[in-house]
């Protein structure tokens, strides 16, 4: 469904009139199935976020391309929505108005907007906080609002850029469970960027391990754990432990000899 074919991307980095080319991605190939939960894991600076932005159509790639159901991606589209690492909630809007924001851009009538936004706030457990401003909420609650904003436009593909990277460990685990529940109910394709092995294995159908810069796919691993997954049981499962250890080794190998 999502085809990533030979995607490469370089950036020009200019320091004191000295322009150097920085290769972020080198020939990334990956295909993602419908309703699949895929995590992309890799060392910092391996171009994970760049890849996500290219899939979203926010930035163009130098060569190769993305196609979704056979259609070439050139710009952001209604079939995709992003959940940001820093939440990206607008501080001058209430939680409700933040969720409405994505619907406003899709030209929904005002009453439909409010109804839909309220519905999704309820699904992420924020029904009682719709009139709060983002800074009045904890990090975990802010990210729930970010998730509601993305889900509200009913995208086929949810692009998540280290969404739980800036919340505490306890909240993180809670959010992971909630995300799985939502995903099971809504059936969406999720592309999930993370650098937590544990998180990648717990959530995903497949884990993509990337090499350091310039990032390319080092390995794609199937996660053979049955669903629904209960956090406490899964983490004790020997298959879970083996797989996280394997990914750790794979990441280390990729770091030691990147090319």
């Amino acid at each position: 469904m999502v085809e990533i074919q030979g995607v490469s991307k370089s950036f020009q980095k200019t320091i004191k009139n000295n322009s150097t080319e920085l290769k972020a991605l080198a020939n990334v190939n990956l295909s993602i199935r419908e309703n699949e939960f895929v995590s992309i894991i890799g060392p910092s600076g391996c171009g994970k976020t760049t890849l996500l932005k290219i899939i979203d159509g926010l930035i163009p790639c130098d060569s190769g391309g993305i196609s979704i159901n056979g259609k070439h991606v050139t710009a952001p589209g209604p079939d995709r929505a992003v959940v940001f690492q820093t939440f990206a909630l607008l501080p001058w809007r209430t939680v409700l108005a933040n969720v409405e924001f994505s619907l406003e851009l899709r030209r929904l009538p005002k009453t439909d907007r409010t109804d839909t936004a309220r519905d999704y706030l309820k699904r992420v457990g924020l029904a009682d906080f719709e009139n709060h401003y983002p800074h009045e909420l904890s990090g975990g609650m802010q990210q729930r609002a970010g998730l509601a904003r993305a889900l509200a436009v009913n995208p086929m593909i949810l692009l998540m850029d280290e969404p739980f990277g800036s919340v505490d460990a306890q909240t993180r685990q809670l959010l992971q469970e909630e995300l799985l529940e939502l995903w099971q109910r809504e059936r969406k394709t999720v592309i999930f960027i993370t650098h937590s092995m544990d998180e990648a294995v717990y959530l995903s159908d497949r884990v993509v391990v990337m090499t350091p810069r310039p990032g390319k796919v080092a390995e794609v691993l199937d996660v053979p754990l049955p669903r629904p997954r209960l956090a406490e049981e899964v983490r004790r499962d020997p298959k879970f432990v083996d797989l996280t250890n394997y990914i750790w080794d794979s990441l280390k190998k990729a770091m030691d000899n990147p090319h």
């Binding site: 932005k53 979203d56 926010l58 952001p76 589209g77 209604p78 995709r80 929505a81 992003v82 940001f84 820093t86 990206a88 607008l90 501080p91 001058w92 924001f101 994505s102 406003e104 851009l105 899709r106 401003y133 800074h135 436009v153």
Partner: protein, 251 residues
């Protein structure tokens, strides 16, 4: 808030008492006691002289300040949003921002004559640059992740501008407007003293040269009160437009 108000009242009362005592003990023409100043102020008020001059001055102030906000915000937004506009204009804006605006008064007289147009131009020049610079800085400091977020949800340039850039830059814009208001009052008095003797600027010059110190201080106090009221007005507007920001500051 309440304790602040109390402190303000206490501060004003202490100064008033100190002034009265100093005025009476020194018994000098240079520092008339506050009671004498108040009497002079009342005289000016009743004669209608104060109000008619004040109306004229305020009309100049409002006209010049309004134009400064209009131009300042528009130019600041363009400079902040478009690199080319910034590079084209920042030289002049920075130069004029730090140059003493008073130096341009003779040029303005040549251009606009000695009428009200010149006075409005002085108020405008005093206020406009600080508004431009604050607006531009505000626009440039908008977190790029907001723009990215809007774009990823399909926002067009116009929507990015009105739904992201403008509200995000609003606290900085209002800071510029607040600073501009202070400068506009300075510009108003300067224009009335240097250009044509009109309005309350004229009253200052007139009473100053006539050693009518009680009336002089009455006018100066009036200017202080006007400056304070206009500042409060701008602050009130700021609160209404960017209340979300103030809440963060209080936390």
């Amino acid at each position: 808030m309440n304790s602040r108000l109390n402190a303000n009242v206490l501060s004003i009362l202490s100064l008033a008492i100190l002034w009265e005592v100093a005025g009476r003990t020194l018994d000098s023409e240079l520092i008339p006691p506050l009671s004498q100043i108040s009497a002079a102020w009342w005289r000016l008020l009743v004669s209608g002289k104060l109000l008619s001059n004040l109306t004229m001055s305020l009309a100049t102030l409002i006209a010049g300040f309004f134009l400064a906000v209009l131009f300042g915000v528009v130019i600041g937004l363009l400079m902040g949003r478009f690199r080319a506009v910034e590079h084209f204009l920042d030289l002049y804006v920075n130069a004029l921002m730090s140059a003493p605006t008073t130096a341009f008064v003779p040029v303005l007289i040549l251009w606009f004559g000695l009428g009200v147009e010149s006075r409005i131009a002085v108020v405008f020049l005093f206020a406009v640059f600080v508004i431009i610079i604050n607006t531009m800085t505000g626009v440039k400091q908008v977190d790029s992740v907001f723009v990215e977020m809007a774009r990823s949800f399909g926002a067009k340039e116009k929507e990015i501008f009105f739904k992201i850039i403008l509200p995000a830059a609003m606290p900085a814009i209002m800071a510029g407007v607040r600073l501009g208001m202070g400068r506009a009052v300075k510009g108003m008095v300067t224009a009335e003293m240097l250009l044509t003797l009109t309005g309350i600027g004229a009253m200052i010059m007139q009473y100053g040269s006539a050693f009518a110190t009680d009336s002089l201080f009455a006018v100066i106090l009036t200017i202080l009160i006007i400056a304070m009221i206009t500042m409060k007005l701008v602050q009130w507007l700021d609160q209404r437009l960017t209340g979300w920001k103030v809440e963060i500051a209080i936390e």
